[in-house]
Amino acid sequence: MPKQWKIKVILILIVAAAVITAGIQLYNHRHYRMLLTAGPGVTKVHMLSDYCSGLKGTMADTHVFFLKGKEPGGKMLILANTHSNEPASLLAALIFLENAVVEKGTLIIIPQFNNSGGRNTRPGDGYPLYFEIQTSWGTKKFRMGNRDASPLDQWPDPDVYVHYPDKQLLSFLDIRNTNRTWPGRPNGALMEKVTYAAMELMRTEKVDMTVDIHGAETMFPVTNCIVAPEKAIRIATMTSLTLKAREGFDNHVEPSPSGFRGLSHREIGDFSDTLPFLLEAPLPFLDQPTGPKTVKLLLDGKDPFLLSLAKKNKLFVPYDESGWPMENRVGQHCSAVLELLRQFSRKSPDRSIQVKNVPRYAGIVKNGVGYYYHNPATINKKDLYFN
């Protein structure tokens, strides 16, 4: 064999080895079965496809957990992993799922709202495929996902995404972003079906309020905040003022812009009677000028480049050597959800929702997130859900 051919064959083998190795890792990541533990408050479990048949049998279908109290009352829907690369949302939702006991009203939790996005990654940014949370009984492993649904589940992307029904022109990528496809439609793209199913859930179940939990860059102004439209701004503002006064952390209110379509905090309110809220906690991992996107950065939020920028007042949140740890972010989310519930219940006593056994900010910061997850070995198998 001539020397030139030998080199070509060797190069092909190297490329094939890289493709196969990465392909196996990505295949395993996409099919990794993450454990969801239903706590004592869970009364029934549905699939999102029960509200839009077009999701049945697809990777976008996902579990919907109902926690119904003994007394009738209002209903709150919690959406997590709308963006699956903002995992404090998932961790907060799982604390509710494993611990919450509803005394009055109903909690509905969708921990992996963009289930396809949770099986996607961002190789160009070198995202880790998994991360682990320490608990007293070992580690709990999670899939690290991406902002958008996997192109394996929704393809091709259009040149320009035309939002339905407003016809606003959005980035082509946002057609796979479940925070741009609200209110959705039953015969649209797969992610439009996901948001349509959630709208149907809210309409048929008569959900009073929906909280969509996110994380945002420290260099982005809409961070560390509650985003709410006009009809929900009063509850959001009282929640923000109370959290600052009673729990000592900032969570300012951002009005939902009426001219920017497709977002949960805009369309849910416009297309249903539900009051929408979107929570943002600072997530240094998402910022662009950071070091490598490691699990450590994801969990402790410490980065020397952000620290340098903070000293030049380039960030929108306070930032020092302590970073912005996961337990702070999850704690903020849990407290914000509980306070939204309290403020809503004060103003609408006939639709009040009372939840107990969910920790607040100080407890989660002190004990860590893993403290609130239960050992699956001690849980009845019927309460374990794999996804």
């Binding site: 701004i233 503002t237 009282m238 003022l241 600052k244 006064a245 300012h252």
Partner: protein, 221 residues
């Protein structure tokens, strides 16, 4: 007899000390103001929404206009029937049985804080806003309308000398009859200095939520 006098003396001292501790940080005597009330913004930041919601929480009825001019202000309760539209927001929550449409306002609460986005939405430049404020403050002075300046935006609604936020403070704070500010907003003592120089009562509160109890005291007859 001596013993009773001494007991009474210590009781008064102890009660006084407890009352002192119960007062908000930096509190002086809290002045009284009268209904009807108009709330508005100096700088069009969302802090006026906070003030409105705090009023509702305190069960204080008010009218709201984001950019009132003299015509609207002088029309009194009901804001001359002007309805919200692009770049203009009005709400009427006053008790119309007690204060029918047209009743002159007795108090104006101004939320101080600049937002270029907010001013842009109202079609105002910083100078337009300052000029508008000057006119309505002059009207209030001429018509004995009590002005309460509120700054609860903290450091995010402060800035370097001459910045938009500081221009709003310059335009309003020295001309108020009462100032309520959060500790964060007054870290550099700017409001303390203005209050001292102009002899304006100042209440410093730790959190914006404390505004509820302060406004309740201001409007309790």
């Amino acid at each position: 007899m001596k013993k009773i006098t001494r007991t009474a003396f210590y009781t008064v001292i102890t009660c006084g000390f407890i009352l002192y501790l119960a007062l908000p940080v930096g509190a002086e005597e809290i002045p009284k103001a009268k209904y009807p009330i108009l709330t508005t913004s100096a700088g069009q930041s969302p802090d006026v929404t906070t003030v409105n919601i705090v009023c509702e929480e305190a069960e204080i009825k008010y009218d709201y206009c984001d950019v009132p001019d003299i015509e609207i202000l002088s029309a009194g309760v009901g804001l001359a029937g002007k309805e919200s539209g692009e770049g203009f927001h009005s709400e009427v929550h006053s008790d119309l049985e007690k204060f029918p449409a047209g009743t002159p306002y007795k108090t104006m609460i101004i939320a101080i804080g600049a937002s270029l986005k907010g001013m842009g939405a109202s079609g105002l430049t910083v100078n337009d806003e300052v000029n508008r404020l000057k006119k309505i403050i002059d009207y209030c002075k001429d018509n004995e309308i009590f002005i309460i300046g509120v700054h609860v935006g903290g450091v995010s609604k402060r800035g370097a000398q001459g910045s938009d936020n500081e221009k709003m403070i310059d335009a309003v704070a020295p001309f108020t009859d009462y100032l309520i500010v959060t500790n964060d907003s007054n870290k550099d003592g700017r409001f303390t200095d203005i209050a001292a120089e102009k002899n304006i009562p100042l209440t410093e509160i730790e959190f914006a939520l404390n505004l509820v109890e302060i406004l309740q005291q201001v409007f309790t007859e």
